[in-house]
Symmetry: C2
């Protein structure tokens, strides 16, 4: 599999949905496979909340492969011997694209909390600029899970003529009140960390890592299913030799402590806040009298909508709602509820059923 | 309704389940109605996680009545013209009974984090000592919701001959891995507050109120149902005039901020940690080869087990599990799944169905 990792600068100003402008921006990208001469075999994969451009393969020095490595690769579900797969870190992120950790050309300091608000629509705009850069006129498929699935849906709405298929996985056309509430708790935890300094921690050489850790611990619970946690950890007590903290009793506590701590080392707190805000505000039907059917009316892409049975963060009702609206809008669409052992996170992992559904969709006539 | 609020000192040492000893302790109590001359009309109500002794009526200066005021009172479900209702703040709490905010006679300082670990069994022990104090030989009923329901269940197990009926509402015989995980996140948030000082914040005249607030915000989400939050707040934007914080967008965020802040003013962080630990460790079947049937074998009380359809923290499977074990153990028991608009918190509120179930149970022959 040919892999190219590249940071690509764009010098034209970008006006965001909020009205704010980035005078220029950079996208950290990774591509897998090769673009054919007709430029018709391109697939865009969009990352979820804490993902990045590194979707497949193992990089030097890393222990873990890319976030969708079980799906993308030579001979895999998204077969890189056939397709040219484009992945990128979204703006506002913290893995190389312009975001809060980027040095602002105006102040000479990291943007920090002053990095403008971004939205799912903004991400699709930057991805469209990236498609232009690659001279890809039409994606064979745009695919993603969770917040990535929202981008796939937004693509179908924003650029009907530039996308043949959208795979909207474990996603929704807007998140629930409960999800907004959970995101608000995570933001509260981060912002009240003594080292947050109103978001300007980098300029002060500090890191709100305790807040980021606890926020991720909470997130992690919502990404897994109750039954998965129960099967995996039950009420097993933690081996005292390997406690992350003296007060820990149960294995599940230790696991969350570990996961939270690892995450806090690699993620940026302002990005966490920006990404959750983008998730909260995603609601494409809002501009169409809150009518998703109207909103989907000009869509031309074929849609695959799938949910996982064990996902309580984005349960199947969300997927079914998109499917029903697509049917009413007369769009070619299919819905599938998949077995998934990992709750919301199931979209990251291979299963025969999941791979078949995605593969058939990608290889079907557009 | 006759109401007596009284702090009662007990001078005998109390050995706790952990093996630690309290040389003496106090219980803050409140009683409603009058004990009959045969001393046979007593009902014990046990509070949930953040409750206290004040279960019914409105106290001078308070805006809100006691936590179960919709259920307890003259002519109400638990009718105080017929029954003598005893309520107390559990030890480890922060509303008058011995707990982390109590001054230790040994150090002359508040106990703080050095207050010993308490368990549901310990609470039942102190409640038994309180029954002795009132010369109540046998409770007509012990009732409670959530953590209070666990105490009712423990009473039926610990003192079969001293309880006629146990109403175990929105509770379980042990909490799930997911619930332990959520409790651990709450503890993590509190303990990493810059003002926590390893639990000795009182001695330093500090309060980890930011951590306590965020922990409560999280708790609050789990107490409500998704559908309730959705109906009540949906995706409504917050009126800018009344924002708790400039970054708030949605009403639900503002509501949680407000609720969290109010709670942090009245609750103690060490109590929060102690109470969640008591909830995590409750598992009476553990001493009976993890067999709840065996554990219930010597129980003589009649059991009412009820769950609420909208409760996702303690879903009906928990209630059904107790019921099935009770049936196998040959115990007189009844299970009811109730409609509840408020998720887990439904146990606090009156509904015709709920009140009928509880009233019929209380007035049935024991």
């Amino acid at each position: 599999m040919k892999v190219i990792t590249k940071k690509i600068p764009f010098s034209n100003p970008l006006t965001l949905q909020s009205g704010q402008t980035l005078s220029s921006f950079e996208l950290m990208t990774e591509t897998y496979g090769e673009l054919n001469s007709e430029r018709t075999n391109a697939v865009l994969v969009c990352h979820a909340f804490s993902g990045n451009h590194h979707a497949a393969g193992i990089k030097d020095g890393d222990k873990k492969p890319g976030w969708w490595d079980e799906i993308i690769g030579d001979g895999k579900t998204i077969d890189t011997t056939k397709f040219f797969v484009v992945s990128l870190n979204n703006i506002g992120g913290c893995h190389g694209s312009s975001g809060p950790t980027t040095i602002s050309s105006e102040s000479g300091q990291p943007y920090g909390a002053s990095f403008p608000e971004v939205s799912v629509r903004d991400w699709v705009e930057t991805q469209k600029i990236l498609a232009d850069h690659f001279e890809i006129n039409c994606w064979e498929m745009v695919a993603g899970g969770s917040l990535g699935g929202m981008q796939a849906l937004q693509w179908a709405i924003s650029y009907p003529e530039r996308i043949k298929k959208a795979a909207i996985i474990a996603a929704s056309s807007k998140i629930s009140t409960q999800n907004i509430a959970l995101n608000e708790v995570a933001r509260e935890i981060i912002k009240k960390d003594e080292n947050f300094h109103n978001g300007d921690y980098l300029a002060q050489d500090k890191s709100p890592s305790k807040g980021l850790k606890a926020a991720r611990m909470l997130g992690h619970i919502t990404y897994l299913s109750e039954s998965n946690m129960s099967k995996r950890f039950g009420r097993k007590l933690q081996d005292p030799e390997n406690k992350m903290d003296a007060d820990i009793n149960y294995e599940v506590e230790n696991y969350l402590q570990y996961k939270g701590e690892q995450f806090a080392k690699t993620f940026d707190a302002n990005s966490y806040i920006l990404m959750t805000k983008a998730m909260d505000s995603f609601d494409p039907a809002r501009d169409f009298d809150n009518d998703l059917v109207k909103c989907l009316q000009s869509t031309q892409a074929k849609l695959l909508i799938s949910s996982f049975d064990s996902d309580w963060l984005f349960p199947k009702e969300y997927g079914l709602d998109i499917q029903m609206s697509a049917i009413k809008a007369g769009i070619d669409s299919t819905y599938i509820e998949l077995d998934g052992d990992y709750g919301h996170d199931s979209f990251l992992f291979y299963s025969d059923q999941y791979a078949s559904a995605l593969k058939n969709f990608l290889n079907s006539n557009g």
